[in-house]
Symmetry: C2
Subunit: 398 residues, 2 copies
């Protein structure tokens, strides 16, 4: 009997940003956040977890490279807590196989290159939690599981749901109420799509430091942000409920800008946006300005995480224009896969003025475009998808 489960989990991109912890050990945030889950058909982490009496110790491989599971570290915490839940079930039900005490081999794989600059820790941790929860047949809800994922990597908790997901900051000291909840399933607004513009950071620049706690410790403006976010959480939830893209987009852009503003207000300052990022912002702004001048709504909304890559959200109907504009002014080094077969030649809004991007950028400033859409939550995969061979070693290494 092989005790094993394979699961995949999605990437999520926040529209209300998480930046700052009030408890660094439990990973409790200074503010609630909200994200859109992206489609696993395009971007996903897959994890296989196996428990076996022959294993000498817990081991974990990420993209074929073994990673140490440090005692007291984040991975260790997640595994320990899920195992404890399994042991609790086994103590309650004699019929359950005793696998909680067996050592684990875990293999995880991201289908997107690390070089794409997409945060893989959220989807990776969510897939780990989903695969262990499946292996252990845990009765806990996804929100309860999200508390465990949160302790592995804060925003991982949001990857346990599809659609539109809130991570409630919570108030309990032990973090028991700091968890993810579904705001709306993907089916509520399936038409929302995302275009990820992978921006080259090769241009001579400054390295970005990851300074979430530096912001908490040194940014005076963060205090005002913490007063602003609760209403934004309400407003963007209302916009999602109403499928009001104009309102959704305006809040998304404002919150991205405010996140980068508190980074800049940090001592020393943290910069993630480079000149290419700024030019993409200007492009989206001009598309929106021209569209609104024509009596229409926003074309797209940008958001930037802790890096120069842009994620552009837009309703499917607007995506051909967004793709055509980005493709025209930011020719990429890698060909566009165009999974939705929208082409790259849509007409830009009448009155669009390309002087905001000085007529265009050098090839490769945007390396690659990834087109995807709102997606579902973690999936239990068939055993055929297992990443481990019969010896419990990643197949890619065998």
């Amino acid at each position: 009997m092989v005790y094993e489960a394979t699961a995949s989990a999605p990437v999520n991109i926040a529209v209300i940003k998480y930046w700052g912890k009030r408890d660094t050990k439990l990973i409790l945030p200074t503010n609630s956040s909200l994200s859109v889950t992206l489609d696993q058909d395009h971007l996903r982490s897959t994890t296989t977890s196996r428990a076996d009496a022959s294993f000498a110790k817990d081991r974990l491989w990420l993209n074929g490279e073994e990673e140490a599971i440090k005692e007291g570290g984040r991975l260790h915490t997640c595994i320990k807590e899920l195992r404890a839940w399994r042991l609790e079930e086994e103590s309650k039900q004699d019929s359950l196989p005793k696998i909680g005490d067996l050592k684990l081999h875990i293999a995880s794989y991201n289908n997107f290159p690390t070089a794409a600059g997409l945060a893989s820790s959220a989807s990776g941790l969510a897939a780990l939690v989903a695969s262990l929860a499946a292996l252990y047949e845990l009765p806990q809800s996804r929100s309860e599981l999200s508390r465990i994922a949160r302790q592995g990597s804060g925003s991982a908790c949001r990857s346990l749901f599809g659609g539109f997901v809130a991570w409630r900051e919570g108030h309990a000291k032990d973090g028991s109420d700091s968890l993810a909840e579904e705001v709306a399933p993907r089916e509520h607004w399936p038409d929302l799509q995302a275009l990820i513009c992978v921006v080259s950071d090769a241009k001579k620049g400054t390295s970005s430091t990851s300074g979430m706690q530096a912001t908490v410790e040194t940014s005076p403006l963060l205090q005002e942000r913490l007063r602003v976010v609760p209403q934004r959480m309400v407003d963007i939830s209302t916009a999602i409920e109403a499928r009001d893209f104009d309102e959704f987009g305006r809040i998304t852009m404002a919150d991205s800008n405010q996140f980068h503003a508190v980074c800049l207000d940090t001592a020393p300052p943290i910069f993630y946006l480079n000149d290419t990022s700024r030019a993409i912002i200007a492009l989206v702004q001009e598309l929106n300005r021209a569209s609104e001048a024509n009596g229409n709504g926003l074309v797209a909304a940008y958001t930037f995480d802790a890096g120069p890559n842009a994620v552009l959200y837009a309703p499917a109907a607007n995506m051909p224009v967004v793709i055509a504009a980005v493709n025209k002014y930011f020719p990429q080094a890698n060909a566009f896969a165009d999974p939705f077969q929208m082409g790259t030649t849509a007409t830009l809004p009448a009155g669009f003025d390309d002087k905001v991007v000085n007529g265009g950028w050098e090839k490769g400033a945007v390396k690659q475009l990834i087109h995807t859409q709102v997606g579902d939550g973690p999936r239990r995969l068939d055993d055929k998808e297992s990443l481990l061979n019969t010896e419990g070693i990643p197949k890619t290494l065998a």
Copy 2:
């Protein structure tokens, strides 16, 4: 008898930034600000004002180009108020020549190119006010004159003093207490120098909009900035009093960063810093880090106005290192004039790590360096320096 006066006025660079008006007509700021006056031996505006019965109307030339004096406009307001003060004196003292009612010809000239990206409106308006105050022999104090300059261009009020200058926001509705005051004269800390790095904006990028009022109207974070600035005004004044460069520098950098943070928090966002600006910040940060690791204080402090140019403040003793570092990693298109004969080959602090600037930038990313120091306030110049010929037309046009 020729009724004429020529005066020059300095550039000032704020260390506590002015950004936002609570009254756009009177130019009353949302917060107090503080600046260092730079030496007129290097950067100055010069203005000649002449009153003559033969003149048909008020006329003004800026760098040889005639500018319209619009009824109700800012120039018009400044001239009108100073003229009113003259008429009041004439009404009180019969012996005074009746020149208040005569039309004026005014010529103004900046000795630095507009392309240098330095704000010329502050020094220009201050020189205008100083030359008219001299022509009219006004008894008003410099602080009183600063109220008039403020209405021409907000930060111009600070160019009416040398050394270290505060612009007090004031509370009166009519703006009567929103004026500049000397915090300390140049002689208090003559050793403070400035290196202006003129940054190329030719690199394809986005145009900066001038959006001070957009920030007031849309930035939630500005509210917190307004709560933060009063203490910063006190703290930096204390640092100036004590000639404490470490504290002065830390506040200067934090306030520059916060100003750019509220710009970014504006809808749509305002960006002034480009990749070169960011790299200069990283360079200064690393010089300071290495120096502090060696048990020494800050080497320099950066500040950025509404553009990509860096102004680096440092005590004279540190300037050779600052110049050597900038010169090494940002080779300029224009040769460095080196007015203080410091050379460009000083040794960088032990442990300095140049990976923060990726080993150096392409020639011309910084176009030019201007080295100067803290300077004095407006100067009355000799009649030989007049910018007008006998017909009252700028000599450069004759």
